[in-house]
């Protein structure tokens, strides 16, 4: 007791040096709270700064919404910049010059997405450990081994400082850093608080890292590995047929003059004897993939990066086939869904001619997909094979310093890569070696180097900046004729009514058969790429007679038209079949029809296989109920669809029944053995044309099965599984929106900041796709009408703000789930945006450097 009720102090008579129990208790509580306050425990951040009401997590509420008016300074601005945020949270930047516009863009992106900027850059530069600690060490070492810092630094050093991308990257960095410099403690994004970290300054090279990361996502195809694995089990001829150079269903991006798809079905050769050398090579190749990319192979594991998870659609319709007589364009890249979104929406206007709206990746100056006053464009991934490996002869099996080329020793470029932790401490030092081709890794007793087009880009991102200013289709096509990686199927339409599509990127010219799916001899320069394919050999079409063009990651060109090697083992063209079917059937397309097509849930894949399943089930009374369910199904993946659950379960059961020859021997004893590699379903359909092929026989049973027996068994198993997992078919459990959900994860995979278990329309291979675990899908849907005044509609899942306290964090999600699009505002000047649509005004002015 310290004082009595009257406030008079009570005289204590304790000995001065004898701490009381109460002192001990208080001191313990103080020490404990101080520790928790300063350090945190486990996933719990330091509680002091986290709970602090002035600058802690609660303070994020204060800056969650944009103020009506605000001002800021950015060094280097040549004139004040006016930024109007519209009612969708999209900044409209009005600047005097394009460099000022990029400065302002860096500022507004950092204002909304600062943590995302840093995280994705660190993910490419191999410095995640500095933010996340030791748990990111392996990822960082992989980045370094893959040569990303080497490539980015080399690219920066070789860059002409007056080039468009150099100027843009510098200006963008000015803007980002101006925001960081002005950042008050209350505005520090939540993720930094959770990680107890501070934002790092943005460097122009970080823009390069972003493009390298995108190349890894989009241009790391490896058709070699799957084929090698198959060859190891069923021999070369069968592997070639199962993982073919050309898709057995031809509905190419470049129209081939056919009025519909062409089915190039051939009889598959029987399985041959295993090729043990190929199997060893496959294992090495798989390890190589892991060493360079940290990615276990997709065919052996269901992982987020796997090809079945990503893909995109785009199409254009010529004025002659639209209701209004104006060209229409639809863009719909399917990428990983994240919070905040991989995209940031922005409108950049500069007095020197720039006037473009659309989306960009945070960290990339300009607009990547969008439209200006004359042209609209979008991309899908080509999936080109632009990566080769070379076996090198080195002077030392353990610590080489030289490699042999054409009989002479050449010095290896050697870099010591130091990975640091959160406090700057050294976590690891790795020696990374490079030949003239690229990074070198040790595989078994071999040294293999990598050559990849992504390393050969001189100023990645520059092409997109040129596209932003194109005034017509011709100028747009010229704008990216030197584009390197990742190869993209770019569609474009202009106000004059022209449409075009070109699969653009550098395609290596290889010696011999020209194919990229084999290991090459590094000691001989004759094994090197001899150059790149000429532009006029790229898959391309402009103003075709059919009046529309579409791409959905299918084989871009009919091999009968253009036999050049672009890649192998192409996606089954289910989405391409469906969009071409829709576009052929509609000669009076409206913008709303384009929107509906984007959200179309009808499955060309189901249309191909369900009749086969029903034919196989005919006469089998035990399959009557399953057959009736498939018969009643309209082949769509709408939320209320019930047949989709049975179809997916059946197709899941079918693959191991058909491809039992591809199940590794050591997996045969598993309760549900899975093949190591599974051919594309287009190949399965090709096989279905041959009902007595030996491939149908399940060699694990004494009987000899043919097609219908296997299909019936798959349906039986699929039905049993669906009953087990979803209950009786008439129950709610079979609804597609109960069976499958979309999951939009926060960048740090924090469930509390994610939007999970979202009922969604669409499934594997539908135009509105939601495959696997629902973590990938339509990341930016856009429809543009190229009329006298360009009009755009678009949406992405999430919102513009990365602040979870903001109403703009998730505001677009309900409309995205409903398949709706927002009207994109595109004011020609600040006065064009109605006052009622202006959410916030920001004035940026220059400051002394």
């Amino acid at each position: 007791m310290d004082a009595d009720r009257s406030g008079k102090p009570i005289v204590t008579a304790r000995l001065p040096h004898r701490p009381s129990a109460r002192l001990f208790l208080a001191a313990t509580v103080l020490a404990l709270l101080s520790y928790l306050g300063a350090r945190g425990i486990g996933v719990v951040p330091p509680l002091g700064p986290f709970l602090d009401p002035a600058n802690g997590v609660w303070a994020l509420a204060r800056t969650a919404e944009l103020p009506e008016r605000s001002r800021a300074r950015i060094p280097g601005l040549s004139a004040p910049v006016e930024v109007l945020y519209d009612d969708r949270g999209v900044p409209h930047v009005f600047a005097a010059t394009e460099e000022d516009a990029w400065r302002a863009e860096g500022f507004v992106v950092a204002r909304d997405r600062l943590f995302q900027l840093e995280l994705q850059t660190r993910a490419a530069s191999g410095t995640l450990s500095e933010l996340l600690g030791r748990r990111a060490l392996d990822a960082d070492l992989t980045d370094r081994r893959r040569g990303f810092p080497w490539a980015a630094e080399r690219g920066m050093a070789a860059l002409d400082s007056s080039s468009l991308i150099a100027r843009a990257a510098r200006a963008y960095a000015d803007g980002v850093n101006a925001w960081i410099d002005a950042l008050g403690p209350a505005e520090l994004p939540l993720e930094y608080r959770l990680l107890n970290a501070e934002p790092a300054r943005w460097r122009p090279i970080d823009t390069f890292y972003l493009y390298l990361q995108m190349a890894l996502t989009l241009a790391w195809e490896d058709p070699t590995l799957t084929k090698l694995q198959a060859r190891g089990m069923v021999g070369a001829a069968a592997a070639e047929a199962l993982f073919p150079l050309n898709s057995p269903i031809q509905e190419p991006i470049q129209p081939n003059g056919a009025a519909g798809p062409r089915y190039d079905f051939a009889r598959l050769p029987p399985p041959g004897p295993p090729d043990s050398l190929a199997l060893i090579a496959a294992r090495e190749r798989e390890q190589l993939n892991f060493d360079f990319a940290g990615l276990p192979h997709c065919r052996t594991a269901a992982l987020p990066h796997c090809r079945t998870e990503i893909g995109s659609n785009n199409w254009v319709v010529a004025p002659g086939r639209t209701a209004a007589g104006f060209a229409l364009l639809a863009g719909d890249p399917h990428l990983e869904l994240s919070l905040p979104s991989v995209w940031y929406e922005v409108h950049l206007h500069a007095d020197d001619g720039l006037d473009v709206a659309g989306v960009t990746f945070p960290g990339a100056p300009g607009v990547i997909i969008g439209f200006n006053r004359d042209v609209a464009w979008s991309f899908t991934n080509t999936g080109a094979d632009v990566r080769d490996h070379y076996e090198e002869q080195v002077d030392d099996a353990v610590r080489p310093r030289r490699y042999r080329l054409d009989g002479a020793w050449q010095p290896l470029e050697i870099r010591l890569e130091t990975v640091r932790g959160r406090r700057g401490e050294v976590l690891a030092i790795d020696t990374v070696r490079f030949t003239r081709r690229g990074p070198l890794v040790h595989q078994g007793n071999r040294w293999l180097s990598l050559r990849w087009t992504a390393f050969e880009s001189k100023g990645p991102g520059e092409d997109f900046l040129r596209l932003d200013r194109a005034r017509g289709v011709t100028e747009w096509l010229d704008g990216w004729k030197e584009y390197v990686a990742a190869a993209q199927n770019g569609v474009v339409a202009d106000r004059r009514g022209s449409i075009a599509l070109r699969s653009t990127g550098k395609y290596p010219l290889r010696p011999g058969n020209g194919r990229g799916d084999e290991l090459r001899d590094g000691s001989n320069s004759a094994a090197d790429w001899s150059g790149f394919l000429a532009l006029d050999a790229y898959p391309f079409a402009r103003d075709p007679a059919q009046g529309f063009l579409a791409s959905a990651n299918q084989q871009p060109v009919d091999p009968r038209t253009n036999p050049h090697y672009f890649s192998a083992n192409w996606y089954s063209p289910w989405r391409a079949l469906r969009i071409n079917q829709l576009l052929r059937a509609d000669s009076s397309v409206t913008p709303d029809a384009m929107r509906r097509f984007q959200g179309d849930a009808q499955s060309a894949r189901a249309a191909a296989f369900v009749p086969l399943l029903l034919a196989a089930a005919r006469g089998d009374t035990s399959l009557a109920q399953a057959a009736a369910l498939l018969t009643d199904w309209d082949l769509s993946y709408k939320k209320e669809s019930r047949g989709a659950a049975l179809f997916e379960a059946t197709m899941g059961a079918l693959a191991p029944l058909v491809w039992d020859e591809l199940i590794p021997a050591d997996r045969l004893a598993d309760s549900a053995p899975r093949p190591a590699v599974v051919p594309e379903e287009a190949v399965l359909l090709e096989l279905a044309a041959d009902s007595i092929s030996v491939w149908w026989d399940d060699r694990r049973t004494p009987a000899v099965e043919h097609r219908d027996a296997i299909l019936a068994e798959a349906l039986r198993r699929g039905f049993a599984r669906a009953l087990r997992d979803y209950g009786p078919p008439e129950g709610e459990g079979w609804r597609w929106d109960r069976v499958h959900r979309a999951n939009v994860y926060h960048l740090l995979r924090i469930p509390a900041l994610s939007a999970l278990e979202l009922p969604v329309q669409g499934g594997p291979s539908t135009l509105t796709p939601s495959p696997g675990r629902g973590t990938h899908g339509p990341s930016w849907r856009m429809v543009v009408e190229l009329g006298p005044a360009v009009r755009g509609w678009a949406i992405y899942p999430g919102g513009q703000s990365g602040n979870p306290a903001s109403s703009r964090y998730l505001d677009r999600l309900p409309r995205w789930l409903a398949g709706e699009l927002d009207t994109v505002r595109f004011p020609a000047n600040p006065g064009d945006l109605p006052a009622a649509r202006v959410g916030s005004r920001l004035t940026l002015s220059g400051a002394e450097r």
Binding site: L30, V57, A61, L753, S806
Partner: protein, 120 residues
């Protein structure tokens, strides 16, 4: 009473005003308060209550400015720590209260030990 209410309000204000400098100002202010003990009844309890109220002032202002955003961030932060929202709010208020209580108590005891009241 005439002196204690203003003194207490002053203490609340001190906690509130010092908050932008950092959470560590809570034990600092409370420690000073506990050491000086300005003739206040139950000074340790007063420190705890004042710290709680000092931080509440900030939350109250934010509630007035951005009620929806405050609710959203409270709910999300609570989810991250796997706590109910109300418990997270309670944690936010109890943290400075306990910190102030313990700091004031330690300071008070130490002051007593070093310079016992009535002897100094």
């Amino acid at each position: 009473m005439r002196r204690t209410v203003p003194a207490f309000l002053l203490l609340v204000a001190a906690f509130a005003v010092a908050a932008p400098l950092g959470w560590w100002t809570v034990p600092l202010v409370a420690g000073l308060w506990g050491a000086l003990r300005p003739g206040f009844p139950r000074p340790i309890l007063a420190a705890a209550l004042a710290a709680l109220l000092g931080w509440s002032v900030w939350l109250g202002i934010d509630l007035g400015i951005a009620p929806d955003a405050l609710t959203r961030i409270g709910a999300r932060a609570a989810d991250i720590l796997q706590l109910p929202s109300t418990l997270f709010l309670l944690l936010t208020l109890l943290f400075p209260a306990l910190l102030a209580w313990s700091a004031a108590a330690v300071a008070c005891r130490l002051a007593n030990l070093l310079v016992p009241r009535g002897q100094g």
